[in-house]
Symmetry: C2
């Protein structure tokens, strides 16, 4: 995670983007949570450090981070998660465990190809695929755990 922050610093420096205090802090909070985290959770945690913080502050930071590929949004959860490799042009495929609530990024080229070719066969040009696979992670599978407690 410290690594992810450094990578973010480097990436922003290279692009001339400003990783300000707030943006950095939000990125850190996103990473610190080992699960996808909601904007209002970030809001609350950020508020603990800086007194009253309003929603736009958090959403603006998230917009910036997403625009630079440092964070992904998971639409089916209304939640945000750090991107493990913001350098490459990431597609973002997610494995979302309904047992423990964790999410892992997949980025499988075969899936990407299958999607693009399937869509192309219908004459459709994919621009922003949303791939979010709800299911069971290896841990929860083994334990036969029920839905997230």
């Amino acid at each position: 995670m410290a690594e992810a922050l450094e990578a973010a610093e480097r990436l922003c420096a290279r692009r001339g983007a400003r990783l300000t205090e707030i943006r950095r802090r939000v990125l850190e909070l996103v990473w610190r949570s080992h699960q996808p985290v909601g904007a209002y959770t970030i809001l609350e945690r950020l508020g603990r450090e800086r007194g009253r913080v309003a929603p736009p502050t958090v959403y603006r930071a998230l917009d910036f981070l997403i625009a630079h590929g440092l964070v992904h949004r998971i639409a089916s959860l209304n939640a945000y998660i750090g991107c493990a490799h913001p350098d490459r042009d990431h597609i973002g495929q997610f494995l979302v465990c309904s047992g423990c609530g964790s999410a892992a990024e997949l980025d499988d080229r075969r899936i990407d190809r299958a999607i693009r070719s399937g869509a192309e066969a219908a004459g459709f040009a994919v621009e922003r695929p949303v791939i979010e696979l709800a299911g069971r992670c290896p841990n929860c599978r083994e334990r036969g755990r029920d839905a997230r407690t």
Copy 2:
């Protein structure tokens, strides 16, 4: 669409599920919109016919329709769309056009296989895939239209 409604009737009859007046009406409204439609839009339209209608009425009908595969939810749009073939076990892959706002269902087996095998390779068991491909439909591609007006 009339066809879709009949198919829904049959399917519910076969399952002993009750396609009540409200549920039927909501399904009709979902189909009538040729784009994915928001719950509050349905709410408003339903309200025009029946006087005041509260959100839970619509959400409960949608929950029922989704549970029976008659309607899909598109998470990236917070919107709902009728399912063209509720009989088969549908996976639900959607092509969402950012030009005209329309959405088409794909259901490509190759995509489904790629996803399941990719996830399985990570030890993950997919239960409810969310596949929503934002891009350009053939029409909007041709016209080079800008984002939905």
